[in-house]
Symmetry: C2
Subunit: 378 residues, 2 copies
């Protein structure tokens, strides 16, 4: 069985939460091992629900199904349309009603097989169908493997903003099969890489140096480099989530680059012209610029961040973004409507150099000036 054979080639991260703990397994070709692993987690399991999208299902659903069948687990398959458009009420209702029709009970797990959208909607469905069933993540994009599949945030978009409806529902297992990254486009891979850089900048300075020297191996999908990168990011995220599962404090560090990133995404309109990771890369640049302006970050570290993002081909300047004209006032308005804003203005994650992020109150004037400079390419 693949799961057995590959054990020595896998990395395992244990996420310890208040109520229980779960494992993140990172390895090549580990999807077929899901069956035996589920059997190990849920002794009397007879069936499960797989949620996937059409694109991912074509590539990996057979492998997963075979693994489940060989462990005596019957999979019900629920396939949604690919893309952000599925992350709304209509798809959620449809998925929930399909699960209910299978006669699932409270012990029937839901498996998410796909990227961030599939993981978010499947996790949310798992948290509310029958008031909660077990949830398994099999992320198939770099973004999902290093970021969205770990930590238990689930949800859908409101008509008025992203991820405004959802819950915290921790997975019981995450299987990150790095083999699935072979099928990503260069652009999708890079978008995921932006979150990798984010972790390095938050609190892993030596990993940042490693990335500067080894990014071609990571983006060239070399097995060891990928496994090291995905494991290290999962570990970095898990460390923060274990301290603050429900985001009352330090978990907000994970939003480095995201306040500005979300404003750019909202302005772009979530239509595929600006991917989340691309927005995060530009957001990282703006957050670093603001940190430098406030005297927290050295100009040297700021330039190192820009230089690394430039090297890999992520957007760092306004001309790299899909806007003919970027309006400062509109960005400020999006920032004031951020989900984490209180009384119309959020705190910001800033950096005291590479590897030292912190959450700070920042005056509107400094943010305005930083945005102006970014827009005017100063």
């Amino acid at each position: 069985m693949n799961g057995q054979k590959n054990r020595d080639k896998e990395s395992e991260i244990i996420v310890k939460l208040k109520k229980r703990q779960y494992k993140i397994i990172v390895g090549q070709g580990i999807i077929p091992s899901a069956g035996l692993r589920l059997r190990g987690l849920f002794e009397n399991i007879e069936s499960c629900n797989i949620i996937s999208d059409r694109t991912v299902a074509k590539l990996y659903l057979d492998d997963l199904t075979k693994g489940l069948n060989s462990a005596g687990i019957k999979p019900n398959k629920i396939i949604i349309s690919p893309g952000e458009i599925s992350k709304g009420f209509k798809t959620l209702e449809n998925v929930l009603e399909q699960i209910i029709l299978t006669q699932s009970d409270r012990k029937t797990p839901i498996i998410a097989l796909g990227g961030g959208v599939v993981g978010d909607i499947a996790g949310f469905a798992a948290s509310i169908v029958l008031r909660g069933v077990p949830f398994i993540q099999i992320p198939t994009t770099l973004l999902a493997q290093v970021d969205s599949s770990v930590g238990g945030k689930t949800g859908i978009n409101s008509a008025h903003g992203k991820n405004l409806i959802g819950s915290f529902h921790q997975p019981r297992l995450v299987l990150a099969d790095t083999k699935t990254l072979d099928s990503l486009s260069k652009r999708e891979l890079l978008a995921g890489y932006a979150e990798v850089v984010k972790y390095a900048v938050i609190n892993k300075p030596s990993f940042f140096s490693w990335l500067e020297n080894n990014y071609t191996s990571v983006l060239g999908l070399e097995k060891e480099a990928l496994e090291y990168t995905v494991s290290l990011c999962c570990k970095a995220k898990a460390e923060i989530v274990m301290l603050d599962e429900l985001e009352t404090g330090e978990r907000a560090l994970l939003n480095l680059g995201h306040t500005f990133g979300h404003a750019l995404e909202t302005e772009a309109g979530y239509n595929g012209t600006l991917l989340h990771g691309e927005a995060v890369a530009a957001g990282l640049v703006i957050a670093s610029k603001l940190s430098t302006k406030l005297g927290l970050c050295s100009n040297k570290d700021y330039l190192r961040i820009i230089s690394h993002l430039d090297s890999v081909g992520l957007p760092t300047k306004v001309k790299d973004l899909p806007f003919s004209k970027l309006n400062k006032e509109k960005l400020l308005s999006h920032i004031s409507h951020d989900k984490k804003a209180k009384n119309g203005w959020p705190n910001f994650v800033l950096i005291n150099g590479i590897g030292k992020a912190s959450i700070e109150e920042v005056d509107q004037d400094s943010v305005q000036k930083t945005l102006s400079e970014f827009i005017e390419n100063k």
Copy 2:
């Protein structure tokens, strides 16, 4: 202020959960005190969202609004249609989008002002908007005051069954104003009374005797009798919820009469011909009959239960129910699809006499025979 003046006339129950505790306050005319109580719970509160239905809003929304305003809290009002029809996806989506449009943040509480439907949908909305905001219950029916407002179960109906989608989200405060029961119809009051009898039968035998002697005072809405009844039921429920918040064990005792009750409700079609409490009364009779058949409950206790339900005017026989013909096979099919069924058959809550409920595995044959006898009025 009403809240202060009434303190000596109120009962207070403290529900201690793992993460936090909350109070249930039972008293007459305490709705206007909500403002100061919220100010006490949430120091910097500026606004809140009230969810109510048109019928209840007409009667009590002004009182609540005045109380909030006088405490400097701005209420946003979200009014839904009365009745079970509102307990679906469409209303949920509408309520969530309205909350999001108010620019609420994660500390803006949601107040449910109404009966079970309002409480269930408002509590569910509170658990998923912005991944969870604080929730306050102001139940205005007897059913909601003694049962649905306590314990944190929230949810909506699926197209394929009741309460199949939802979450556990505990309130931060429950204000049960017994004055609101004045506006209930006799039928609604009685439906709530069925749950009162349920608590007595589960584990409060002396309360059962008290009800036998005092039911006219309770149903006559005498202040002290009502307050005693509501407090005692809340205490009974809280005791069980504190032991088993997420219903992994003994909390299932609260479903006494509900497996049969739900089957009857499903068969009636949730169109108002059979209220939940009426179905629970008949369900209690069937569960007691089954307990007697299995030798667990004495015939004397079984007859006492029937006699009490008869005295108050709740349905105890098939002729009291709105079916021209009741089909045993259909009821069995509903039972096998019960939310709590595993592999197509649920456990049953039975009684070892009045005041001693337990959860038991029961063979299909005994259930079949009991249903036949009930249907044939034996």
